[in-house]
Symmetry: C2
Subunit: 434 residues, 2 copies
């Protein structure tokens, strides 16, 4: 992989998400050589992917070039590649662009969409974990309307204008809200020859409330916001299949829809080669101790979504969200420094700063550890927290400007279909996995 030999021990980090980048920043000016591998050359601010998918933001505003992060750091390297396997015996990773020896390995590969083994859903539904996927959803939404304008078949038209989101976690809820606003602010004006009131947004949830990782109070508030926006929320319904046209569920309920976006589950983006005993099979996560050291190894760490640290408070590991990832990356960076100074490592303790979700203009729910609130103030808090979490001054400025513009003008201008448009039949539609 053409990495220069260094007198410093080499840390290889797989993945430039929240965890990997937090760790990398801590390692600057230390006595390690750091090599980061990622299949994208940029870090993605995933919490705002839904705004890229619905045209509110450009992709560039929520991404940051990884090479720019390490521009000023000495003995840091980046390689654009997918890791195929880890060879723990010989301490090397095997990737598409060659092998690489490591002294320490940090697995920060994050998570991917979990279709719970249903291959037909996986083939026909879309997911929204990456920028290419979000851009694809954006194009696809608009293509559906271009298509709906053309058809004289009412059933087809209804299916094209029926958007089904499966899973009412933060991603599903925020996307449903944004779609509902897109309907009012954009689609109604852009497609005067369609009866946009026919457009449906159905949010299907297997549990008995939306945002089930948040407080009851927030669930109730969020559901009310969704209802006001015209989103139909279906609870206690489990989607059993989607053939590209019809969604079946475990009840009598079924929908005809050209667009199913699946946010109903995540699982670790596992890397092959670790001992089976180190894995939590059901969710494909890697079992780590309180120093994020992978069970059974003394030089392999896992941080972020992929890491399952089972504690008394979190018997199934921490929630797969940005905050634990950033905190684990930060701490592991400090611990690598302690290691090089022969000091004892510090165990991880999760500092739950709370969670939040926005449902649209002036509407959000916020759970702080001891206080829950919703409405306009929550929405302002949501905006500032997200704005300040973005990497880079320009991204902050551009996102802020876009938000002001979209808010004042009831508009979102990101509606370019940047892929060849083909009039399609439902049966030829294929998935977007990139």
């Amino acid at each position: 992989m053409n990495i220069p030999v260094s007198k410093n021990p080499r840390i290889v980090i797989i993945g430039g998400g929240f965890a990997g980048i937090a760790l990398e920043k801590k390692l600057k000016n230390t006595n390690y050589q750091v090599v980061m591998l990622d299949k994208h050359n940029y870090h993605t601010f995933q919490p705002l992917l839904y705004q890229v998918a619905t045209g509110g933001l450009e992709a560039g505003s929520i991404a940051y070039p990884i090479r720019k992060v390490i521009q000023q750091y000495h003995d840091f390297y980046f390689r654009l590649t997918s890791v195929k396997e880890i060879d723990t015996e010989n301490q090397k990773i095997i990737s598409e662009i060659g092998d690489l020896h490591y002294d320490y390995l940090v697995i920060a590969t994050g998570s991917k969409t979990n279709y719970f083994g249903n291959k037909e859903i996986e083939r026909n539904a879309m997911s929204m974990k990456t920028i290419p996927q979000s851009l694809n959803i954006r194009s696809f939404i608009l293509e559906n309307f271009e298509q709906a304008v053309l058809t004289k078949d009412e059933a087809d038209r209804n299916a094209l204008m029926n958007f089904v989101l499966v899973g009412a976690g933060p991603t599903g809820v925020e996307l449903a809200g944004a779609l509902a606003e897109m309907k009012k602010e954009i689609l109604q004006k852009d497609y005067p020859d369609l009866d946009i009131s026919q457009m449906q947004i159905n949010l299907i949830q297997s549990g008995d409330r939306v945002l089930n990782t948040m407080s009851e109070k927030s669930s109730v508030a969020a559901e009310k916001f969704l209802d006001n926006l015209g989103v139909k929320v279906w609870k206690n319904v489990r989607v059993t299949n989607y053939d590209g046209r019809t969604i079946s569920t475990n009840s009598d309920l079924s929908f005809d829809s050209a667009t199913v976006i699946w946010t109903a589950g995540v699982q670790g983006a596992i890397v092959h080669g670790l001992d089976a005993k180190s894995l939590v099979e059901r969710v494909e996560r890697i079992r780590v101790n309180q120093f994020n050291l992978v069970n059974g190894y003394d030089n392999i760490f896992a941080i972020g979504d992929i890491a399952s640290m089972e504690t008394e408070k979190f018997p199934q590991g921490h929630p797969m969200m940005a905050q634990p990832a950033i905190q684990q990356g930060d701490l592991l960076g400090d611990n690598f420094i302690k290691l090089s100074q022969n000091k004892p490592m510090k165990p991880f303790e999760y500092n739950d700063k709370g969670s939040m979700a926005t449902i649209g203009r002036n509407k959000a729910v916020v759970d702080l550890p001891k206080y829950h609130f919703s409405g306009f103030f929550a929405w302002v808090v949501w905006m500032f927290v997200h704005l300040f979490s973005l990497i880079g001054f320009k991204n902050k400025a551009v996102v802020f400007m876009n938000w002001i513009y979209n808010y004042i003008r009831f508009d979102r201008e990101g509606r370019l279909i940047v892929r060849p448009f083909k009039k399609r039949s439902f049966t030829t539609f294929t998935s977007d996995e990139i």
Copy 2:
């Protein structure tokens, strides 16, 4: 094509470029039904495509949704499609999504890259006429460096870092300047493990000066700017072939390069079905009279790059640029209004406002009809003219902000590779035509 019947005569406009949009805007509040067809759902501000290709701007900032242009207009329709043929006898166009009858047809299809019949160059070189092509060039430039980092073969590495631009018109010159700045400002910092001084930018021109449509004075100034930036300008050299690795020319000169960007010629983007007598074969343009009426027809017009209006001053038709296109679109709109009022049409007279090109930070050349200047002031003029020509307040604001940021920080952040990266050999490389 599912367009409602109207009591107004129907004008079908093929193409939402400068000419088509200028015409469309003039036709609001008139007694015509207007249907615009385009294979993209957005208007592209082509003069800034090179900044998208080199990471200075996001694609969304230089594009504008066509449906947004006509949101407020009554009896206006847009359809996303490619036109396959015109059936002049039955007054209808035949497209991928069905047929459409017209009372008046306006062909505003613009121009496409002219490879002068060389299929191998067409297959292996890239062109930069659309947003998908510019994004592809951007990804490709960065992929070359990711690839160069990996290879131990010096010849391969040099070819990956050798950028050859064919054609020294405004597009070639501006792209060369932007690449040279990208080299200094970005690539040198992003790829510390490469010797970026090995990166070459070669600009090849078959004529004896760059910017040969501008004044001699501007050519000399532009060439000096390019030289200062380290761009190698080759004059009186004609490229004869490019096999994906080696570029041959009509002289002893040859280059090994992974990236050839072809800006050496344009031709009309012809639509089939017109009488051969209406065409100027060599450049695939449509012969029109002074009212932009296509020779041999009384209800078919052509405007912009595709139209060749042979006058005393322009025996080969007007230059294929934004200004004649906008002016012809404007005038045809006025003439349609006159037509509906039974007033005589006004003949077209080109008002040459001058031309300009920028070569990089603080460097541009401007030709006004009676005055030529270059340097910092020209660069400021260039910026403001382009800024104010962009459609939409938000695009203007975002572009302005990006320019200020890029200028102050010597940076350009648009360096996301948004397509799957594969380590490739030169032989498997295929063209990017979208």
